[in-house]
């Protein structure tokens, strides 16, 4: 068996294991009182795992420059929307807490390391994270009776946060401001690491 097949096998087993520990779909959605669209916006703002992955990916894209930031700005919300539609259509995926935690922990670690990813690498990460978190959004929002408008609200929140943060980071000068970005990444990764412990323990 060659190394590629072995890697794919490990990835499949890891993916299966992660899916096996999928949490139950949450049946609640924030009710802002302003309608489904704003409920979707609030859903992202008040779901820490969603917010952290968007922040981490925006920081990462900003670190890697303008072109990577532009890719992430459009790819992440689109992937989120696609994932949301899939999740709403087949809401059996559940909350997938291990995978969502891993996604922001890895993104945070890459920010902390100031990893020299190519633009395509940043875009690929954005697609993967967007699909995953969108899938969970769709799967958890649909049973609560949320409409497509709520998903559009969530995607708008993702786009807005990515646009603001990635643009700010792209424009940061070298030195302390960029170090603060790396520190923020290490905090996100550290919180993810601790959260993985809580999930493993079942706390």
């Amino acid at each position: 068996m060659n190394a590629g097949r072995a890697c794919r096998g490990v990835a499949r087993v890891a993916g299966g294991a992660a899916l096996a520990v999928a949490g139950p779909a949450q049946a609640h959605l924030v009710e802002t009182g302003f309608g489904a669209f704003y409920d979707g916006v609030a859903h992202v703002a008040l779901t820490p795992a969603d917010l952290l992955v968007v922040v981490a990916l925006a920081l990462l894209a900003g670190q890697r420059g303008t072109r990577a930031a532009r890719y992430a700005l459009f790819v992440l919300p689109l992937a989120w929307y696609a994932g949301g539609l899939i999740g709403a259509r087949w809401p059996t995926a559940g909350a997938l807490p291990v995978l969502t935690t891993l996604s922001f922990a890895v993104a945070g670690a890459l920010v902390a390391l100031n990893a020299r990813l190519r633009d395509a690498g940043v875009a690929a990460l954005a697609v993967a994270a967007g699909l995953l978190h969108g899938l969970v959004n769709g799967a958890t929002m649909a049973p609560a009776g949320a409409s497509g408008l709520a998903l559009a609200g969530a995607v708008t929140a993702v786009f807005s946060v990515t646009a603001i943060l990635a643009a700010e980071v792209t424009a940061l000068p070298a030195g302390w401001p960029r170090i603060v970005v790396r520190v923020a990444g290490s905090w996100i990764a550290a919180a993810g690491l601790l959260m993985l412990g809580w999930l493993t323990r079942g706390g």
């Binding site: 609640h28 009710e31 935690t101 905090w187 706390g203």
Partner: protein
């Protein structure tokens, strides 16, 4: 025609139901995660509640300021990650021997480094800080209050630790002046002395 007494009873029932609903406002803000604010605040306040943790974290920042770039930011970036790894070990039930002693020794060693202005190679400084971070994470990272969000507790805990580093770095900024340099060294000495007290308490 509606009976007036029945109408009165109906109104009273509506009012009573409204009051009961006002007493349970959580229903109105239902969300998929519970205990978020409480979790974050508990995590934020937890590191500050233990003087041993506070002093060691400030000492990390002070030492970083004494060492200067790149240690000044490498240590605060590395510490939370390794501390979280220590917390992960605790959560997985993997024991780390002598956690309280390790925390006390961390204050002694880090304080002594600041006091003596010891400047080892960056990797040695990072390894030393990372070694002690495991004890701090193992001891404090797994004390989640009941009913709070684990993720936000973890985030609050990490943020508070990072802010304590920032306090140390800011205090250490006076190191560039001769009076400030003496003050920073004195602060390091104070942390080391406090560490000795914690060690005595841990082994007593």
């Amino acid at each position: 025609m509606t009976n007036p007494s029945l109408r009165f009873t109906h109104r009273a029932a509506v009012r009573a139901a409204s009051i009961v609903l006002l007493l349970v406002p959580a229903v109105a803000v239902a969300h998929e995660e519970t205990g978020q604010a409480a979790g974050f605040l508990a995590g934020l306040s937890h590191p500050v509640s233990g003087l041993d943790h506070v002093l060691a974290m400030i000492a990390v920042g002070l030492w970083g300021a004494v060492l200067g770039p790149p240690a000044i930011w490498v240590l605060p970036v590395a510490f939370p990650l390794v501390m979280a790894f220590g917390g992960l070990l605790g959560l997985l039930g993997i024991p780390v021997p002598g956690v309280e002693i390790g925390i006390a020794i961390s204050a002694i060693v880090l304080g002594a480094m600041v006091l003596a202005e010891i400047r080892p190679a960056l990797w040695i400084a990072a390894a030393l800080v990372a070694f002690f971070a495991v004890f701090h994470g193992h001891a404090h990272g797994r004390e989640l209050p009941e009913g709070t969000s684990a993720l936000l507790y973890s985030l609050g805990f990490v943020v508070a630790t990072g802010l304590l580093h920032a306090v140390g770095i800011l205090l250490g900024a006076v190191h560039r002046w001769s009076v400030g340099r003496r003050a920073v060294r004195a602060a390091g000495g104070g942390v080391a002395l406090a560490g000795l007290y914690f060690l005595w308490r841990a082994v007593a």
